[in-house]
């Protein structure tokens, strides 16, 4: 069922009734970068001195990684084979009831073989798996397993199909170009996740979650694997360097917006602004009027 949903492109439906009919929705998930000269990358790096390296990584050797990925600062992580045995035990206890022995899938849950360690890592580290209710969209929860256990499960599932699927990436953001990231994010992601990354409801009861908590590793995994109803973007759509720029934009700007101008109203736009203007602004002035003008 979910697979079906995933197959077709979900058109954002909030504006759909009138706007889509008026021929407005031109959604092009292609990597059409704004033309940003590279001169800005040095200034970009000054923004995030502290956030260069991300999350878990036992060894970040590039055995499986192409040169372009490494040059872009996206380094595949090789999982040691000693992780496989404990991973098998964890999988048998927590996942096999739905995904079957050897992760080949059952009527309740899909086959996991060949998806790659990155897919497993995304679903487990965001707490989406193990799932409680298989009929609902899996949502982000506090993860059930710690970082090491997650990697062990990933190593176990990967061991059936070595080298196939999306690996776990370690992202180095020091070379990232935020301007490119801004433009690419607007083009490829904002249609669903909204321009401020606050997330929004999509058609058919699905929703795109907020991007305010995902780690750089999870963001790149989401881009490359396309979880649930999200389309996946291959290196043909979004190059490794572009993916890194998007990750940097989400991690450094969306998650830490420049909130000049006072209290940001949650990125909720004119609806929140309208309520403030009417309740605090006009409402407050009504009270003043009530106070100044007497009752007659």
């Amino acid at each position: 069922m979910r697979r079906l949903l995933r197959a077709r492109l979900l058109v954002p439906a909030g504006v759909a009734a009138g706007v889509a009919a008026a021929g407005l929705l031109t959604f092009t998930p292609a990597a059409q970068a704004g033309t940003a000269p590279s001169g800005s990358s040095s200034s970009a790096s000054s923004l995030h001195a502290s956030t260069a390296s991300a999350s878990v990584a036992p060894t970040t050797s590039g055995a499986a990684g192409s040169a372009s990925a490494k040059a872009a600062g996206i380094n595949p992580v090789t999982l040691p084979s000693s992780y496989i045995a404990p991973g098998e035990a964890l999988f048998a206890a927590n996942c096999a009831s739905c995904h079957g022995t050897d992760a080949v899938g059952t009527s309740r849950a899909p086959n996991l073989q060949g998806l790659g360690a990155g897919t497993i890592d995304f679903w487990v580290s965001t707490g989406r798996m193990p799932l409680a209710d298989p009929t609902e969209q899996a949502v982000r929860k506090p993860p059930r397993f710690n970082a090491l256990q997650t990697l062990e499960i990933a190593a176990y599932v990967q061991s059936f199909t070595p080298g196939v699927g999306v690996p776990i990436y370690h992202v180095n953001l020091s070379q990232a170009n935020l301007a490119q990231g801004q433009s690419l994010f607007t083009l490829n992601c904002a249609a669903c996740h909204t321009i401020t990354g606050a997330g929004d409801a999509l058609a058919d009861g699905a929703f795109a979650p907020s991007l305010h908590v995902a780690t750089p590793t999870q963001i790149i995994e989401a881009i490359r694997t396309g979880p649930g109803n999200m389309p996946h973007f291959s290196a043909g759509n979004i190059t490794n360097a572009q993916a890194r720029d998007i990750v940097a934009y989400v991690h450094e700007v969306i998650q830490h917006p420049t909130n000049r101008g006072g209290f940001g109203l949650g990125g909720n736009g004119p609806v929140a602004e309208g309520f403030v203007a009417l309740l605090i602004g006009v409402g407050g002035l009504l009270l003043v009027a009530f106070w100044i003008g007497e009752r007659a």
Binding site: A13, L24, F207, G261, P270, G281, A289
Partner: protein, 494 residues
């Protein structure tokens, strides 16, 4: 000396008589008469901050490479309009404060007009002889909404750009003439060849503000000429006005109110972010963000568009996009025509052609009150429908169910509101003391164990006391000392 020079001016210009009438203009002492002033003063703030913005804003769609201090945009191609608005927000001293003050003032301006209009409507202040001033007021509301939309479009960011795109489609949806109007305004097919920003700019900063200033002058001129309405009360008739004179009482009040309005706007501007366009990025015709909503005063149009089922039919060699035309052209058209025509409609229905200077209590006109409440409910619900996606996301329910719920609510609730309001008015009519301050009551326990309540006289200063109004003096220098003091409440004949 001062006296002499004043006389010199008066001998030549004859301003004393007019000035005297102005200073003696009587303002009834009721808080609801201050609502229009919120609109007046926020408009003044709009003018002042708008002039500041004009000094730095560049009304041009020409593409430049951004080099300002906001890192995530550096090196991107953006329009000059967008770059200059980002500049206003990051590089111009107090620019962001002014931008935000301008925007909050616009939201408050239109909000206070709506509240002011509700006061005039529910008290029947629009009746003969004030129909004209009602029409002037509705025109200002219409122009204000329009100007808000234009101003909102000027920064040329992704969110407002989507709004312009929608506006183009709305224009196009008008049968027969639509595409010509759209072509005329945009100077060609969407997005126009960069002509739209300069055009919107000149309409926004010059043409509409000038018209509004003119209408405002007419509005206030008529107010002085026709004198205020007043609520019925002791000593108040159709032929007099009781209240505080312009000078000194009302002058003090209204100046204080001006400062409070300005302060409220600038406090919001300083502490609450509005329209952070740097987070939205520049407008590109091929990009769209999802949670795009217009400012609140346009929200009801957006809401109507959203919940409209997609009806469209092909005939006479054309496609008729009813799903855009009905909610975005016909619906607001009907609403505004109803607003404009209401005083005349009501006079026709009630056959009441008399002069009215005394106001109605809303409960005494249950049909009008119910009709007003019902239209208000309709607009409010359509307004709420503009946040269908926000609601769906917040309550975690499917968007489709939210849409269907709204389609039902929008029809059922206004009808329900009409009957409920009507009934409430009728009930209130039957209970004279409703809304009045209660008398103190003493409860005593009799030796037999029975409780008795006795009504007491109001505490001094607690009950509402009418002060005997004093006639306004008619000549300069002729204020008899015994009149110059006293309560300050004055009366003038119409």
């Amino acid at each position: 000396m001062i006296d002499k020079s004043l006389r010199w001016v008066d001998d030549r210009l004859g301003v004393a008589k007019g000035g005297r009438t102005f200073l003696d203009k009587i303002f009834p002492d009721h808080w609801s008469f201050m609502l229009g002033e919120i609109a007046l003063y926020s408009f003044v703030v709009l003018l002042a901050t708008g002039v500041f913005l004009t000094l730095y804003y560049v009304p041009s769609a020409k593409e430049v490479i951004y080099h300002g201090s906001y890192l995530p945009l550096r090196g991107q191609r953006v329009s000059e309009a967008y770059a200059s608005t980002i500049g206003l927000s990051f590089d111009v001293k107090s620019g962001l404060l002014m931008r935000q003050a301008h925007h909050w003032a616009a939201d408050i301006f239109l909000g206070s007009i709506a509240v002011h209009m509700a006061r005039v409507f529910f008290t029947g202040a629009f009746r003969k002889p004030r129909e004209l001033n009602w029409v002037v007021g509705v025109s200002m509301l219409l122009l204000g909404i329009l100007n808000g939309f234009l101003g909102y479009s000027l920064p040329d960011d992704l969110v407002s750009g989507t709004g312009i795109r929608i506006a183009y489609s709305i224009l196009e949806s008008i049968p027969i003439v639509g595409s010509y109007i759209a072509f005329f305004l945009f100077g060609g097919n969407y997005p126009g060849n960069g002509i739209i920003i300069p055009r919107f700019f000149i309409i926004h900063v010059l043409i509409i503000p000038a018209i509004i200033v003119g209408l405002l002058a007419a509005h206030l001129g008529l107010l002085v000429k026709q004198k205020h309405t007043q609520f019925p009360g002791k000593g108040r008739t159709e032929h007099n006005v009781v209240g505080s004179p312009m000078f000194p009482t009302f002058m003090a009040k209204t100046t204080g109110f001006m400062f409070m309005t300005t302060a409220t706007i600038f406090l919001l501007a300083g502490f609450a972010q509005i329209n952070p366009i740097w987070q939205f990025g520049p407008y590109q015709p091929y990009q769209i963000s999802y949670a795009v909503q217009p400012d609140w005063y346009m929200g009801w149009l957006d809401g109507a568009l959203r919940i409209m089922p997609s009806w469209e039919f092909v005939g006479w060699g054309h496609t008729w996009p009813l799903e855009v035309f009905l909610p975005a052209v016909l619906f607001p058209g009907i609403v505004f025509n109803l607003f404009f025509a209401w005083p005349f409609l009501e006079a026709k229905l009630t056959k009441d052609r008399a002069y009215h200077n005394l106001l109605d209590r809303p409960r005494d006109r249950p049909k009008r009150t119910a009709a007003g409440a019902s239209v208000f409910m309709l607009l409010f619900m359509v307004f709420c429908a503009s946040s269908t996606d926000v609601l769906a996301n917040f309550f975690n329910v499917p968007l489709q169910s939210v849409l269907i719920t709204f389609r039902i609510i929008v029809i059922v609730l206004p009808i329900l509101t009409f009957f409920v309001t009507y009934q409430i008015c009728k009930e209130l009519q039957g209970y004279e003391a409703a809304g009045k301050r209660k008398h103190p009551v003493v409860v005593t326990l009799t030796p037999e164990g029975e409780y008795r309540t006795t009504e007491m006289a109001p505490h001094p200063g607690d009950g509402h006391e009418e002060i005997e109004p004093i006639p306004v003096p008619t000549f300069i220098n002729l204020v008899p000392p015994e009149l110059a003091t006293g309560s300050g409440v004055r009366r003038v004949m119409r």
